[in-house]
Amino acid sequence: MARVQVSEAEKVYILHGIRDDLRVDGRGCEDYRHMEIETDVVSNTDGSAKVTLGHTAVLVGVKAEIGKPRPTVPTEGYLEFFVDCSANATPEFEGRGGEELGTELSNTLYKVFNNKRSIDLKSLCICAGEHCWVLYVDVLLLQCDGNLYDAISVAIKAALFNTKIPKVHISSDDEGGKEIELSDDPYDCMRLNVENVPCIVTLCKVGHRHVVDATLQEKACSVASLIISVTHKGTITCMRKVGGGSLDPESIFEMTEAGKRVGKALHAPLMKLLEQEESLGKKRQKVYTCFPGLPLVSPQPPREESGAK
């Protein structure tokens, strides 16, 4: 993980600020930074999204391919996650440096989606036991400024919302052989229901309090954080402690409650935003290249609503 050096005096300053519910950048303890979401950014994918959260930038591309369903679940398709920590995010990721973080992130994503509700996997089935859609969700980290999990989960939700899977037609010939025909019409496509796709909320324990959407400086002051993936109904699909410290059971319960509250409040504005952007269609300005720092135009409120304090 990208790290910053924070001096003792800075740490004390951050700690005391958080104790009084005032963070270095003026936010409250349960506020997110400015978030920008743009969908349909890479033309070669079936669905893509770019999310910037503060200075953290994440690009997600979804590619649909026809594969063979897993023998244990012949009537379902599946998702594959891959997180690439590119060297332009931080020089530490050069060579194989980002591999460890990449596997950690992708393994967590598998856990987050390891339930029957998040995505209707049955809708990805083409022909039971023989063919199904495999969605390759590739995450590219463009810039790291803390809170990767939250940015990635929002980007994945946006990219899956944007995913258009071409409709298939199965015809069988006289000998019982099956033929799969893909629809040529780009508008004749299947969309995924992303209502139940969870969002991850990372809570950093700093001092005796916890903060949402920690920057790298704040992260350096915390010993442990808890990541919680919350659905729009408020159920939790994955919870995990990350970091080298330990947590009191009571503070874990407190953080779970706060995470649920924040995560639940994240979904409604996010869905509204995605639908709004979708309705604008081709009128909006599109960015096909994906360099961090490029001005992005997307219709959105200045800040994500993040529930009551």
């Binding site: 393994n107 339930n115 699909t237 970091g243 330990s246 059971p249 874990i252």
Partner: protein, 315 residues
């Protein structure tokens, strides 16, 4: 090694290890180290085994084990549902004489062993911390440990387990007492019968204690599985992977690593789909399960220390 005329007098296709070569039913094969190579007027590409590219365990095609598990009544091994009913645990320290510390743990059919090496000089000089020691964890599953054969190569799931183990153990070890050195923990799962991660944490902390590494507390692991309204503590492999098809609400697994005397949670991992209340209750249940394990582990440790004491005084 082609079918071209061979200079060997008795026209054997191999020049090396001719004594191992046998003729059997008209087919000449070599009991060599490479692979099965069958010679029977075959084209030049002889090294390839013409089987299907991927093979699957026959158990997948026989009766489906993960079909339906009863969500009521006693469990398959006679334990009670909705109770903190952990499997009896067998633990021993000092198994591997080469290692600084080691432990073996058996809970039901889940069997695993852990070795601790170090503290010693770090391999990676670039990551040497002057103030703090480094902990490395490695968790592996033996290929025969699960119903389906695994691979010897560490997969991404094993890496995930290693990471969880690392995060669960690190808060308990006084790493600042071991500057510029590295402590290696390796766990080998011999038989997977559920709750592997939880038992791996317990076993590893015992091995660390056996190695004499300074720790704040022992780390104990416990896991549970929620299935609708009922739950099972310390689930078996079947209970972990099978699901009752009744409902898909409130299902999931939870693993907690707990430091009993400090009352701290050092590791937490859940998946599935659960409400917050269920999860909170689950964490409490797991903590209770950890307390049940505590005296057993303490006893194993004191036994190991007693055993080691006289030999030390002699020398």
């Amino acid at each position: 090694m082609t079918n071209s005329p061979c200079p060997h007098p008795d026209n054997k296709p191999f020049s090396g290890q001719p004594e191992k070569e046998k003729t059997w039913g008209g087919k000449r094969f070599r009991a060599g180290p490479v692979a099965w190579v069958i010679y029977f007027n075959m084209p030049t590409d002889t090294k390839r085994v013409r089987g299907p590219e991927v093979s699957q365990s026959p158990s997948l095609f026989s009766c489906d084990p993960a079909a339906v598990l009863p969500s009521k009544g006693p469990r398959a091994d006679g334990r009670r549902r909705d109770q903190v009913d952990v499997r009896p645990v067998f633990v021993r320290c000092g198994l591997v004489s080469q290692a600084k510390g080691s432990a073996y743990l058996e809970a039901g059919n889940t069997k695993l062993m852990c070795c601790v090496y170090g503290p010693r000089e770090t391999d990676r000089k670039d990551e040497t911390d002057m103030k703090c020691g480094r902990l490395t964890t490695d968790m592996r599953f033996a290929p025969f440990s699960c119903p389906e054969r695994g691979s010897w190569i560490q997969g991404s799931q094993d890496k995930d387990f290693s990471l969880m183990l690392h995060e669960s153990l690190q808060p308990a070890i006084c790493l600042h007492k071991y500057p510029r050195s590295q402590i290696e923990v390796s766990v080998m799962v011999l038989e997977n019968s559920g709750s592997v991660l939880a038992h791996a944490v317990t076993c590893a902390s015992l091995a660390l204690a056996d190695a004499g590494i300074e720790m704040y507390d022992l780390v104990l692991g416990c896991s549970m599985r929620q299935d609708g309204t009922s739950y099972v503590v310390d689930p078996s492999y079947m209970e972990e992977n099978g699901c009752s098809s009744v409902s898909c609400e409130n299902q999931g697994g939870l693993t907690v690593a707990f430091l009993p005397s400090l009352n701290q949670i050092s590791g937490l991992q859940s998946d599935g789909d659960m409400t917050e209340e269920t999860l909170t209750a689950g964490v409490r249940t797991c903590i209770e399960g950890c307390y049940k394990l505590y005296p057993v582990i303490q006893r194993a440790l004191t036994k190991a220390v007693r055993k080691a004491a006289p030999s030390q005084s002699e020398s």
